[in-house]
């Protein structure tokens, strides 16, 4: 079986996490959920895994990805219920270290829009909404944003609505952006290219953004090992991780 872009993104997501991180993923988050399993199974065994399905540290041996990230099947065998609000309490105390969030629009500082395309009052497209974005983006130390549609439509000069805060001056906050083409970090308020995925050109990365990221020294995004792929496929035998890339 071929390693796909989804798998590369999952590996990149997993690499943002360190041992001991306390990490939350929300609804509609198949890639982050797998990435959290991957990190915990490899370099971050003491990662504290908060799924939106509220069963603390789900057991990878019985976890199977579903179309809803809150599917109660993810709760089976849980040793504790962690209500979402409890992870928010941790965030307020500075004890939720990492969060994965999407971005329908992302600007050069890692700010995001998940609210609407066009005007809020009479939008061209009413998006589902930012979920925890406005609340959590100022509170976590590691903010990992992702998009499966690296394009000028996503990487915009100016957001239609500021749902989430990316870079914040003077704050101990690491903002990583993982797309279907590349990995960026926000440094001193600028989007810096960190790596491009295998078989993707820098030209392809840069030309599909409405603003120019900083391109200096960058690498090739780490490709998952065969061991990683065993875990990814065990967690997601049905290939649900690919559905985000459609449409």
């Amino acid at each position: 079986m071929k390693i796909k872009i989804a798998d590369i993104m999952i590996k990149a997501m997993a690499q943002t996490l360190a041992d001991g991180d306390t990490v939350l993923h929300g609804l509609g988050s198949p890639l982050p959920a797998i990435a959290m399993h991957l990190a915990k199974a490899s370099h971050a065994p003491d990662l504290v895994f908060f799924p939106v399905s509220e069963g603390l540290d789900p057991n990878p041996d019985r976890y199977r990805l579903r179309l809803s990230s809150a599917d109660p099947d993810h709760f089976v065998g849980a040793k504790a219920v962690i209500e979402l609000i409890e992870t928010f309490d941790l965030a307020s105390k500075g004890k939720l270290t990492a969060m994965f969030l999407g971005g329908a629009q992302i600007d050069s500082r890692g700010n995001t829009n998940l609210t609407c395309i066009g005007d809020y009052q009479r939008p061209k497209i009413k998006l589902p909404g930012g979920a925890a974005t406005s609340f959590l983006t100022p509170l976590v130390k590691k903010l990992i944003l992702w998009t499966t549609h690296h394009s000028k439509r996503v990487f915009v000069d100016r957001l239609n609505f500021l749902t989430g805060l990316g870079y914040e001056e003077g704050k101990d906050k690491e903002v990583t952006i993982i797309t279907d083409k590349a990995v960026f970090m926000v440094e001193k308020g600028y989007l810096v290219l960190k790596s491009v995925h295998k078989d993707v050109s820098v030209k392809d990365v840069v030309e599909n953004m409405s603003f120019a990221p900083i391109v200096g020294k960058y690498g090739v995004t780490t490709t998952p090992t065969s061991e990683d792929m065993v875990l990814i496929r065990n967690i997601d035998p049905d290939g649900i991780r690919f559905s985000e890339f459609e449409g």
Binding site: G55, T115, T133, T163
Partner: protein, 269 residues
Amino acid sequence: MGVGETIGLIHDGDSVTLSGVSMVRAPMAFVKEIVKAKRKELSIIDREPGIDFDILIGAGAVKRVRFAMLGLELLGLAPNFRRAAEQGEIEYLETTCGAITNGLRAGAMGMPFVPVKGIIGTDLLPLHEKKGTWRVIDDPFSGEKIVAVKAIIPDVAVIHVQKADKFGNASIEGARFEDVYKAKSAKTLIITAEEIVDTKYFVGHPERNTIPYFYTAAVVHVPKGAYPTACYNYYPPDYGFVKNYVSMCRAGRFDEFIERWLRGEEDEN
């Protein structure tokens, strides 16, 4: 008592919150009763609702919706919500999970508001300041700016649970989301339950009792009451149902869906 008999507890214009998130433990049988009874002008409030809110919006029961995210996850945008929002058919107020959960918890705790971190600097803040739901205040101790989130006290909460006794002691199994806070903040609480158990079920196991009876106005036995959303320990979400719903809506066949659903023809078995 049948689920239809409790519908009198909800009135046109009420603010209503429902249990669960997304495709998990929404009180769908009760949603059906709301549509049947043609309730109007409801203000519906939830953190991350899905098909429950989308159906209510499509059926014309809703004046106003307050949510942090309203969609169908990997199955797409919520078709009726999206259309209604884009065409100005409903009022909506987007919020953020940390604010709506804390607003409901403030209601449950009897606090008029609570200070919530984050949020400042986002475009949600001026929207809510204008609506009077949030205010930036000074922390009286540190002097730092913080968002005061006004308590959310819905007129009615409808909470679907796994087990309840006839007095309204209710047991949520698995994920609870904000359901306990919703139950305790609302002026009127309706419990729908997969199973009615004897009170003995709780005696000696008080940790099973997530919502004690004195909060409950009505309790109704509704097996499969969350279907097509999931009920932990009872049934999974029916993703096929939701996919079919989205297809019918996209094909302009929402009215047909509703007719069939009200007649029970969309439900499995």
